[in-house]
């Protein structure tokens, strides 16, 4: 078990190091998210009256679109120099490779969310600073759910034609529990809703994360082989 | 309180679609068998009757 954990650690370390040196994913994700926020202000009439109701949906759309961009690039680095073939030849657990990729995409999206959330509050005058820890918790739960399924399908569509289009087409319908779960919980939190209403959604999000991290861990082996 | 128009619209769409799908399937089978027959005449004769 510790051996597998060490594999996850080093695989994740490799990706994070590359990201720190090159910064190509994070920068483009950040500017993409920022431009979405600007588009939202033109597309919708956001006032201080309705911002609390709209914020969860808008924020989650921004996170999900940026996350999909990141997923599309996730395996590119490993494919470019035949690094993927070398990794597969190495005595490595395929599940470890999956977990490392999930954690890497999760860290990218989490960093983006930590940037975007306060920025959203400032730009749209949303006074949610005291609720920020709760908002972040549910956003991260949803983000994990997005990544566990997303990484699997990024690998599945890797060798398909029109894969940049195919990935969101496959992913978004599967993401509906995550989208509804995060958007509703954030609406309850921001609308000062009752805490008991959060419980079923919390369970749903945790259940989604657990079911699909197990499924992805077991299934990625078939995707990478051959 | 009739609404027979809606009923016939629904029945019409359903059975026409299923009929068209069935015919398309049969044509696809025929084409695939014929394409096979060009290279392997004996093989296509063997399962030709099934289509």
């Amino acid at each position: 078990m510790t051996g597998a954990l060490r594999q996850v650690y080093w695989l994740l370390w490799k990706d994070l190091l590359l990201e720190v040196r090159r910064r190509d994913n994070l920068l483009s994700m950040f500017f993409f998210g920022l431009s979405l926020l600007f588009l939202f202000s033109f597309a919708f009439e956001i006032t201080s009256d309705n911002v609390a109701g709209m914020a969860p949906g808008l924020l989650w759309l921004a996170f999900m679109f940026s996350g999909t961009l990141a997923l599309g690039q996730l395996f590119q680095g490993d494919r470019e120099n035949d690094c993927l073939d070398a990794l597969l030849l190495a005595p490595m657990d395929r599940g470890a490779y999956y977990l490392a990729k999930v954690l890497f995409n999760f860290s990218l999206m989490a960093l983006l969310e930590i940037f975007i959330l306060p920025l959203f509050g400032i730009l749209f005058r949303l006074d949610f600073w005291h609720l920020l820890p709760d908002v972040l918790l549910y956003t991260l739960l949803g983000t994990l759910g997005f990544c566990v399924v997303g990484v699997l399908f990024a690998a599945v569509t890797l060798r398909a034609r029109a894969r940049a289009l195919l990935l969101p087409v496959l992913l978004f319908p599967l993401m509906i529990p995550v989208i509804l779960g995060t958007v509703r919980t954030l609406q309850i939190i921001l609308g000062a809703g009752a805490a008991p209403d959060l419980v079923p959604w919390f369970r749903l999000l945790v259940g989604f994360d657990l079911i699909f991290i197990t499924a992805g861990f077991l299934l990625l082996e078939w995707v990478l082989d051959g | 309180m009739g609404h027979w128009g809606f009923v016939f619209l629904a029945y019409g769409i359903v059975w026409c679609s299923i009929l068209i799908y069935t015919m398309l399937l049969k044509r696809r089978i025929q084409r695939a068998t014929a394409a096979r027959g060009k290279t392997h005449p004996a093989a296509s004769e063997a399962d030709g009757h099934e289509a």
Partner: protein
């Protein structure tokens, strides 16, 4: 030969079902003649669910044993399932117009059916966009499994999304539609259900045969070029 008998039986039952549904069955007290659409609607959604269950079973078997036959089964069932899901939505929409006054409403069941259609058209799209047959089969199997596991979660989330926000709509998931049904309507429903089931197995065997012929043709081509 067996297929021809199956097809003939299905045809006889379809004609009987048409007669019972359109002539023998009395019009509904509240919904009038439009109720007759239900004799198609309920069997088609049940057949659609059955086919997605078969996709799941075929996908699991394929990943486990790696036999083409199981993949062909899953692929065939998915294609027929998409047809019947699409028909279910069309029937529901035509039924909804005179009953609810609108073609579409974001009712939990309607939404769930539409999401099913999206996921499994995605399945067909994914398969058509991957050249390599083995890789297409593996990718399809993974989507078939993940999609099926996701259905209960999507169902829960969509149901909560609607019921926590507005009173339950006419079709309630907690109440089976046949609970308060007249026996005079149960008969045509039963006949139509058996008819749809036979039709489904007829179409499935036809589609499986197509898959087999295509597979043989592919193998012949490979043989000739080699």
């Amino acid at each position: 030969m067996a297929r021809r008998i199956l097809g003939t039986l299905a045809l006889i039952l379809i004609v009987t079902g048409l007669y019972w549904g359109l002539v023998e069955a009395p019009p509904d007290a509240r919904q009038g003649e439009t109720q007759r659409i239900m004799y198609l609607h309920i069997p088609s959604i049940l057949v659609a669910y059955l086919s997605f269950f078969i996709v799941f079973v075929g996908s699991c078997l394929y990943l486990w044993k790696g036999e083409r036959r199981d993949d062909n089964l899953a692929h065939s069932a998915a294609e027929i399932g998409v047809l019947f899901t699409a028909l279910t939505i069309v029937e529901g929409s035509i039924w909804g117009k005179p009953t609810w006054g609108v073609w579409w409403t974001w009712d939990a069941r309607l939404t769930l059916t539409a999401i099913l259609l999206l996921i499994f058209t995605g399945y067909l799209l994914l398969r058509s966009l991957i050249e390599d047959q083995r890789r297409a089969a593996v990718s399809g199997a993974i989507l078939g499994i993940i999609g099926f596991l996701d259905i209960p979660l999507i169902h829960m989330s969509v149901y909560w999304w609607r019921t926590l926000h507005q009173p339950p709509s006419i079709l309630r998931p907690d109440k089976a539609p046949w609970d308060n049904i007249d026996p005079a309507m149960l008969w045509p429903l039963g006949i139509n259900f058996v008819a749809f089931l036979l039709l489904f197995f007829y179409l499935l065997s036809l589609r499986i045969h197509l898959g087999e012929v295509e597979e043989q043709a592919r193998r012949d081509r490979l043989h000739d070029t080699a």
